[in-house]
Symmetry: C2
Subunit: 209 residues, 2 copies
Amino acid sequence: MTEKKPDRRKERTFQMLSGALLELLKERDYPNITIQDIADRANVSRATFYLHFKDKDELLFKSMERIYDQLSAEYPPVTRDEFINKTYTHNMDNSQSEYTHVAANAEFYKAMFGTHGSPQFMQMVRAYLENVTREHVLKPLAPQDGKTLLPLDFIAAFTAGAEIGVINWWLDNDLQYSPEQINQMMTSMCMFGMAWALKLPVDPNDIPT
Amino acid sequence: MTEKKPDRRKERTFQMLSGALLELLKERDYPNITIQDIADRANVSRATFYLHFKDKDELLFKSMERIYDQLSAEYPPVTRDEFINKTYTHNMDNSQSEYTHVAANAEFYKAMFGTHGSPQFMQMVRAYLENVTREHVLKPLAPQDGKTLLPLDFIAAFTAGAEIGVINWWLDNDLQYSPEQINQMMTSMCMFGMAWALKLPVDPNDIPT
DNA sequence: CTATTTATGGACAGAATGTCTATAAACGAT
DNA sequence: ATCGTTTATAGACATTCTGTCCATAAATAG
């Protein structure tokens, strides 16, 4: 897995370029940042940039990969039994780190998810969330016989999308809720859905199949 | 609301440019489409383009506005009582038109939501879905006293995000489900959440507040 | 028919891209 | 400490797209 990287120069310029991009993203929109800008900020020749990346997107992509590798390591799965007994308190601690991470980098995510963000980045985040949800949440929580009422992939896509939607809304409202509150609301909503949130007296069994 | 548009030339070139863009989007990625391309395809001078729009994005934006105005008109609200009695069959017919619309324009949405799509467009769709959900679904279904367990805006953001997530997943899997099936799955998942879908024997009342 | 609005084609400067050089510097390893 | 290799540099270059401008021609509403 871990390839040899026996040249510090490569790693150094990677850090410089990556840092420069994240810095610039706090100042202006992603499309308005030119490769020259990044190189200048990083005190690196533009030619050097092309030695490492073919694109602005590729730089962004590889920059974020590191962060998410680290993040997903902090997200250990829960077992179904644990979950039922502890009423998912454990899981809440896990997912909360995501929201504190977002809060800590709010300007950055605001820029990337906003009107002038990078679709490639959004897709990357979505893919990450889908994976984490499927592997660390859904699979452990699914019934032993594997018979769920909806395909796991569907639920993963649903949940990942919902998370992005909520994060967007959260950022747009300038983080008026704490990461703990957001996490609490997300968990409840994910688990029990609209019928619960709106106090709707409807029975799942009444679903027309 | 309806402004005077007493010159058919304007409307005609709008149609041409709009059509050209949608056509080109089925052939290549959004960023790889140049304004010259659009003008050529539309049989219109490039100078004319700038007479109407300042951007590619502005053209896209205004092109889609029309479609969504039309779509949201097909989405009448349901009352809470109606809903409880009919077990939301009515609502399902409404939201289904969204999915048939997506299915009918699959290549287009694949392009716009994909890695090389337009973030501006995605935000627009998200805003549209949030509005429709809040106004046509949540407000009618909320308890009369207005006391919901979560803020309506939160639920709207959650649901809109989930819809986009599911649509993405649906498109990535080349529409392996029918619009009816997707709509069915969405409605159930939205209403009853993960606990239901995974047959988790947990009680909403056990939530740690 | 006429005044007004819109479309045209071409020209223009400016910005950013991506590629290619030849040179210099930093590196790991022995 | 040195040597062969890798990486960084500065600058040049053609190319592409952008956005703005103009003078002219055509279409339109009234």
